[in-house]
Subunit: 228 residues, 2 copies
């Protein structure tokens, strides 16, 4: 499948690398190609700058967000929360229309210190904002409830644990579930929470995730839902 | 131990019943004793009215919130979120001072429909509001991340799964952890998330809990944190 991954940071790298390894034709979409390639400083968590990372993934393309999204069948939003709608606007409404848009972003607000709060929550969510702004895209909120290494390789955490899907389009959610199974997620652990407003649940969970991260001292964790 | 459980609803019933069964001297605290005993309609989830419930728990006392809290060593806030601070004010700041106050409430706001939103979240929490209003109480937020039957009997959900503690006082958290162990919680599954501001995490998790409840069709579930 031809897939655009918007975002050149650690989450974009993890998803683009995995998708490319699985044989997909992957183009990373960015605001400005030259700026991205010229960057030499490491990312926020010490991940390599894009040009260095890409040495290991020569099959991954780099293009403007519009070019990447225009040729893609499926788009992944792996930008940070504040940059999500601006980047998707650069990608272009017409290039998103009718396509599955996997939204992996979290509306983190670092302006009040750490752990961050959320810039939208409770009675709305970033997933809903994106779906409203791009009504013809088939937004599926997924994967943003865990560290990006765990997203693409659930075996990084012992045992079975869960990933959530939120979105209005049942067929789009099925296609995302198929992709997640190809990442190693067991079908029984891919939980459909309902419409895109359920993204309030998975985004607000970040408040707990951040404190678990602090308490555990590792980002390599996830939750398993156990039911009677 | 002499324990006051504030709240006569299903959560108060579950906690008072369990604590009494374990041999504690339990008094349920209410706004008005006569009104509570005169109630004949079932509770919100079909639980029995207090007078009927109490037939099975004759050792559980009933008193005004102030009387119950005044004689207790440890107090449990099992009222609904909106009623929590008013009920704790009835209990009396002087009757809470220096004591462990287990806060099991959630700031649910049903005014916008279901699933409910939260009336405080993100940059504050009900746990913090209670701690600020009663600075001499040792508030420990706990247990409110699950159905009340699971709170008092974790074996209602298969496997091991987790309960969280948030609070400023390490000794108070140790005492609450001891109580939870007596309920059947394994020590390794009682997770200290840090200070009372961590209650933002466990309260905001309710947004995910409510949607999991909808997707699973049962309230008998919980999350297990799995870490590498």
């Amino acid at each position: 499948m031809n897939i655009a991954v918007l975002g050149t940071g650690v989450v974009g790298q993890a998803l683009a690398g995995k998708l490319s390894t699985l044989g997909h034709e992957v183009t990373v979409g960015t605001r400005d190609v030259e700026t991205t390639l010229a960057r030499t400083e490491p990312g926020v968590i010490g991940n390599p700058p894009f040009a260095v990372w890409r040495v290991d993934y020569p099959d991954v393309g780099l293009a403007t967000a519009a070019d990447a999204a225009g040729r893609a069948e499926l788009i992944v939003n792996a930008t940070n929360g504040e940059g999500s709608i601006p980047m998707l606007e650069l990608a272009g409404e017409e290039n998103l229309a009718g396509k599955v848009l996997i939204d992996v972003s979290n509306p983190l607000d670092f302006s009040q210190g750490r752990p961050p709060s959320l810039f939208v929550s409770n009675t709305d969510s970033l997933g809903e904002q994106i779906q409203r702004r791009f009504p013809d895209a088939k937004v599926v909120k997924a994967l943003q409830t865990m560290n990006c290494d765990v997203m693409v390789d659930p075996s990084k955490v012992p045992g079975e644990h869960d990933v959530f899907l939120c979105g209005e389009d049942a067929d789009a959610k099925r296609r995302v579930a198929d992709l997640l199974e190809s990442f190693g997620w067991p079908a029984s652990r891919i939980r459909d929470l309902g419409g895109i407003s359920s993204a309030r649940g998975t985004e607000m969970y970040l408040a707990l995730w951040l404190r678990l991260w602090g308490a555990l001292g590792t980002g390599y964790f996830n939750i398993a839902v156990q039911a009677a």
